[in-house]
Amino acid sequence: MSTKTRVLLGCAIGAATVLAVTGCGVTNQQSSRDSEQDGPFYEGQKITMIVPFDAGGASDTFSRMFAGYLSQYLEGEPEIVVENVPGGGQKEGLNQFERSDHEDGLTLAMASGGIIASTLFDKEGIQFNPGDYETLVAFGGGMTVYGSVAAGIDSLEDLVTQETPVYYGGMELNASESVRVFALDELGISSFEPLMGYDGGGSITAAVLRGELSAGNSTSSHYLNNVLPLEEDGEITPLMTQGYVEDGEVVRDPAFPELPTMPEAYETLTGQSADGTGWDIYCAVTTAQTNLLRNYWIHGDAADEAKAALHEAVAQVVIDEDFLDEAAKLLGEEPPVQLGEEANASLAAARDLTPEQVQWVEDYIAEVSTR
């Protein structure tokens, strides 16, 4: 064998060894922890947080920020890695969470209110049960409905006194949107036309500015970050918020203390009180949409030590000034927080709908779609 060939062969063997040794970065094996270990539960461990959204969106950015703080406060300071698992409207991500190891406490999941509603109304493909999970913390976020000055909406009353049809824009007619549409429908507007299919809060805002829509909705975050300047310039009229649910009652969004909630607007404009099937469902779905906008879950059957450590850490994160500041910067408002017990209660309330009520929603969606 010539020298050159020998050298080449040597290089090949050397590289092959390197490969075999380092090849561990390329498989998905999670290192499992030893069952016998003294010291903090999470010491030297790596936690995976499944975020069922694409990288870069509000939920993903917020989750990454939260994960950073959680990692600091967890005893043992484990590394928390965010894994984006987009697909199927959060179903893929949460199915994967269900498939991961329950007991080792090394996998967390982020879920938004939308998927909680989906477990009732859009069950195809769902392979998990939120009732099996424990909520560590739920961050709230409201929804705001605003009107177009260009379309003649200068105040709440203008909605009902308008002679031309009132066009209301949304993205997708899912359960959350349907209760907002229901609430607006009930206000007594002579000609109410919901228009679904806009790409996002930004498109809806542009359409509202243009007068293509008389009213639109967006998350309170988006409103505070992007629409508020337009309100100050007199082009957009804030109308009402979806509100939060406390003790079974809908209360005002703290970010908009002067805006009525949708039930309040109903009572003001029609003089009747907000009772009945529709409004009960409104209450339940709103709990999921606003109180439970961003949830962080751990498996219910995870090791007790893991759960205890997580609860303790989370309690400290949510009172950390820096965390609250960053959250406010990101979201435009300081999000309402529900911890452990309170959050679990909200989750139960959000899912507490009878089959008849579920059917009511499905019928309502079908009816609106075919108008």
Binding site: G56, R64, G197, L213
Partner: protein, 506 residues
């Protein structure tokens, strides 16, 4: 305003910020170079690094990445006929034939020069347009967006040679593929059966890789021959290409402006802008229209200029309204939010004006640096076209399958991409054109939503809105021109109807 501009420039030229700019550009060039991996992979990786960074550095890095990806993706497009990213497909139509003639370095030189000029024009346009963006974005309503999508779809007719029926078949197939998944208006799932993977529809990245990238590589392997046997201009080929760009000033500038304009319009995705530029140029030039598709350098200049110019345009709705004009813009918004950078109408306030300039300078610099760096590598790298395919092609297949997997991180991605690749290879063999498929796919879903909103909101009166009529006339003109150029029975019939009318009038 002048002070803001200078202030921003000083911020950018700070060594630390420049460093991050270089990091972004370097990563972007590499990601563009590797077919299948695109800006999105890089953005997701850079996001965690952004936490705590100050805005000028963070913007430098993200914008650098964005701009450089559309520069680097020209390498595989020209050298192997494999689109580096979905935005570089139109470049392959003329770029690859040039490589087959041994003119790869000329094509690359022209491409990078166009990239740079397009990018700079886009940056300047960003600066000029942001103050007047409001009326533009607000003025473009759903009816106009629908008509624009229709105009884009009519391109199918324009860029087609030969018989139109196959182009229409593949175009409609593309639109049908876009229908798979959830319908936004009602939330119902269409054509998905029980397969959870399909609920979100077919991903564009998977489609692009399966439709063009993999079949191209497979064809190279089957031929077994190098892309070209000899290169006439081994020295100075790149400069020759650059000089050609200056010979076709109108093509470069026109397409840059077109790219910027299209970037501003939310809803026209980046992956059709290159086709629109290609089609428009082919339609508008007077000389040698038939040369397009056989290695005409204008077919390289047009899409590459438009591609980079669109980066500037896309930032207009992104910064002004928080309406991301593309998937990478959406991630950019996330990055900006993490850094606490205000977007939305507040960006026009005097105290925030310098931010716009930071974007403008960064874009211009990133494009210039990326283009110059690529041009210097173009000479040596273009020798790749002399290599036999087995040296690189099998490796590319592994990378492209891995890249396809990144879209949904699901085995369904791999299954879909392989099925699409084999079907697409077959389509190529039976001479069914594939560009209409991807155009139909990208524009189809948007067209549906806009039409739905237009009809629901305006009944049919939207057809009489002035802007709609203007675009409508363009649509008809494009169709007529496309038919006039086409062969086959259908085109002939249309032509004879038109000429009979003309004879009648005479």
């Amino acid at each position: 305003m002048f002070e803001s501009a200078l202030e921003a420039l000083q911020m950018i030229l700070n060594p630390e910020h420049l460093l991050w700019l270089f990091v972004g550009v370097g990563l972007g060039l590499i990601l563009g170079l590797i077919p299948g991996l695109g800006g999105i992979t890089g953005m997701a990786v850079l996001l965690p690094l952004i936490v705590g960074m100050d805005p000028a550095s963070g913007i430098g890095m993200l914008i650098g990445l964005n701009a450089a990806t559309t520069i680097g993706d020209t390498f595989p497009s020209v050298l192997m006929g494999v689109p580096g990213t979905a935005a570089s497909q139109a470049t392959v139509v003329d770029g690859y034939p040039m490589a087959r003639k041994g003119l790869a370095n000329v094509a690359l030189g022209a491409a990078f020069t166009s990239n740079m000029i397009g990018g700079i024009i886009g940056a300047v346009a960003l600066f000029l347009l942001i103050p007047v963006a409001r009326p533009i974005i607000v003025g473009i309503g759903s009816p106009q967006l629908f008509m624009l999508s229709l105009l884009g779809l009519c391109l199918v007719v324009v860029i087609s040679r030969g018989s139109l029926a196959p182009a229409l078949i593949t175009g409609l197939l593309g639109m049908l593929l876009a229908m798979i998944g959830g319908a936004s208006m009602t939330g119902d799932y269409r054509f998905t059966g029980d397969v959870l993977y399909l609920f979100d529809g077919i991903d564009l990245a998977v489609l692009a890789i399966g439709l063009f990238a993999i079949p191209s590589v497979l064809s190279l392997l089957v031929q077994g021959e190098a892309v070209t046997k000899a290169m006439p201009y081994t020295k100075g080929g790149v400069l020759r290409g650059a000089r050609e760009v200056f010979r076709h000033k109108r093509v470069v500038v026109g397409n840059s402006l077109l790219g910027t304009a299209l970037g501003i319009i939310p809803g026209i995705g980046g992956s059709v802008i290159d086709w629109i530029a290609y089609g428009a140029t082919k339609r508008v030039v007077r000389k040698d229209r038939d040369n397009f598709g056989k290695g005409d350098i204008r077919g390289v200049i047009a899409p590459e200029a438009a591609n980079n110019a669109k980066d500037g345009g896309v930032l207009v709705p992104t910064l002004m309204f928080g309406i991301p004009g593309s998937a990478t813009a959406a991630i950019l918004l996330g990055g900006l939010a993490t850094m606490g950078v205000a977007t939305g109408p507040t960006i026009l306030r005097p105290e925030n004006l310098y931010l716009i300039f930071v974007f403008v300078w960064t874009l211009a610099l990133a494009n210039a640096i990326g283009a110059i760096a690529s041009a210097s590598f173009a000479g040596p790298l273009s020798k790749l076209s002399l290599l036999k395919p087995y040296s690189y092609a099998p490796f590319l297949i592994v990378i492209m399958i891995l890249a396809a997997y990144q879209s949904g991180v699901h085995w369904g991605d791999i299954v879909t991409v392989v099925i699409l690749a084999l079907l697409s290879w077959g389509m190529q063999a039976i001479k069914w054109p594939r560009p209409p498929l991807i155009i139909g796919f990208v524009l189809g879903q948007g067209a549906e939503n806009y039409l739905w909103i237009s009809v629901s909101r305006y009944d049919w009166s939207w057809l009489t809105q002035p802007a709609t009529i203007v675009i409508g006339v363009l649509v008809i003109a494009t169709l007529a021109a496309g038919f006039a150029n086409g062969s086959g029975w259908l085109a002939g019939k249309v032509k004879s109807i038109l000429t009979r009318q003309k004879v009648h009038d005479a």
